[in-house]
């Protein structure tokens, strides 16, 4: 049966990137539609009237939104290469840590990236606390998902790539290489996978975006 799969996203968004990675892991072909967030298409507003955000996955005409929910939908619809473990407790852990990435970890990392001099130490401390908690979950595994990339790895692409690129562009070091060498091993493993590499935005383009923002932030003082 011909499946119609479309993804509405934005080139620099880690959230639409997550969806693309999940589909690629499952070997699902899809049509990608780039949205202009300053000028949202009528289709986007139709498919996500509540939040009006990307990404949107459209499967045979039915829209699914919210990146982590989309990944669970993808996992439940296409059974090859599972993205979540089988065991209920491990599944709960995966959902917990994926949520942690978005709700606690990333806000603290971004705060530390953009913090003014006076607030930086406190912001850094908070960010490091969260990274320590997160890193512990690797427990000597290759990926958070074990031998294969899973939900938490895909969720944490925000750390592995976006924070990685941003901190370099801004000139801060949140993901300290000595302090978080276990996490960096994971970052190198993850970014070394072709399935990940091929679906990330161009590094230079993303870096230029953060450099521009950093310059604007300095200029406005």
């Amino acid at each position: 049966m011909a499946e119609e799969v479309k993804v509405f996203g934005v080139w620099g968004s880690p959230f639409s990137c997550r969806v693309k990675i999940a589909l690629k892991i499952k070997g699902i072909e899809y049509e990608y539609i780039e949205e202009d967030l300053q000028n949202k298409s009528s289709l986007l507003l139709k498919y996500n009237p509540v939040h009006k955000k990307i990404p949107v996955l459209l499967h045979n005409g039915k829209p699914i939104v919210e990146s982590l929910l989309i990944i669970e939908y993808i996992d439940e619809t296409w059974k090859d290469n599972p993205l979540l473990p089988q065991d209920p407790h491990e599944r709960a852990q995966a959902r917990f840590w994926a949520k942690f990435v978005d709700e606690k970890c990333l806000p603290s990392l971004w705060k530390a990236c953009w913090a003014e001099e006076v607030e930086r130490e406190t912001a850094m401390g908070e960010a490091w606390k969260n990274l320590e908690l997160f890193e512990r979950e690797l427990e000597g595994k290759r990926f958070f998902g074990g031998e294969a990339i899973g939900l938490v790895d895909i969720a944490a692409i925000r750390i592995a790539f976006w924070i990685n690129v941003a901190q370099e562009a801004i000139g801060v070091e949140i993901l300290n290489k000595e302090k978080f060498f276990i996490l960096w091993n994971w970052i190198d493993e993850l970014l070394g996978c072709s399935i990940i590499k091929e679906n990330l935005p161009p590094r230079e383009k993303l870096s230029a975006y953060y450099r521009t923002r950093a310059a604007a932030a300095k200029g406005s003082k």
């Binding site: 499967h59 929910l69 669970e72 407790h89 599944r91 908690l133």
Partner: protein, 229 residues
């Protein structure tokens, strides 16, 4: 299964704590309820939920599960032979998860904002947001229930639990603002649903009485307004 194999750490006023308890009731699973003292956190809580240090926590065979909606999904999967809490179709599951996330991320914060609102204008804006959310959820009910009594269809499911746990606090807010929020004009489907939900055997014993919640709310308000000791 021994009762002590399943523990829930929680507190009676918390709507989030109600969620796993309703789920366990629906699955006919016996559990031990460990009540946390309001204002302090037990060693067991800090050990079981070192990341957030919050209730509810489910402890099953000694392993903790945290975050109420994660716990409800865990309960559904760990006791898979019991009545299913999530629909079987992946799209319907995605819809149930979507609306539950909306409730937690947008709707409940807007309800809490009413009590915290500064001035009449702030209060009115907060109330309007809650009403808008209820209208959306009413629409979602029509789509999810497909003519049946609950979001989950014939039986209470994940989304019923996600929203229903807030009905006590909704009543308190209505009393404190002297306004009807869950109203026939705003959310006609949800009015009937809320009565069916609250009177369900899996929920009845857990829904705190409105006057007790009011007392608790007033105590909390006084605590926050009091000068730091």
């Amino acid at each position: 299964m021994a009762k002590s194999d399943v523990k829930v750490l929680g507190a009676w006023p918390s709507p989030f704590v109600m969620r796993p308890r309703i789920a366990l009731n629906l699955k006919s699973v016996e559990y031990e309820f460990l009540e946390e003292t309001v204002g302090s956190k037990s060693q067991l809580l800090l050990q079981s939920n070192p990341v957030y240090k919050k209730i509810p926590v489910l402890i099953h065979h000694g392993k903790p599960v945290c975050e109420s909606l994660v716990i409800v999904q865990y309960i559904d999967e760990a006791w898979a032979s019991g009545t299913p809490l999530l629909p079987s179709d992946p799209y319907d599951r995605a819809m149930a998860r979507f609306w539950a996330a909306y409730i937690d991320d947008k709707w409940f914060p807007s309800l809490s904002a009413i009590a915290k609102a500064q001035g009449e204008e702030g209060k009115e804006a907060a109330i309007a947001q809650v009403a808008e959310g209820l209208a959306l959820l009413d629409d979602a009910f029509a789509k999810c229930s497909k003519g049946k009594p609950f979001f989950g269809g014939d039986k209470i499911g994940y989304l019923d639990i996600a929203l229903g746990c807030f009905l006590g606090w909704l009543k308190v807010t209505e009393k404190m603002t002297n306004l009807k929020l869950l109203d026939e004009m705003i959310a006609p489907n949800l009015v009937g649903w809320s009565e069916r939900f609250c009177s369900h055997s899996a929920v009845k014993g857990l829904m705190p009485e409105t006057h007790k919640l009011m007392e608790f709310a007033k105590m909390l308000q006084a605590k926050f307004k009091a000068p730091p000791s």
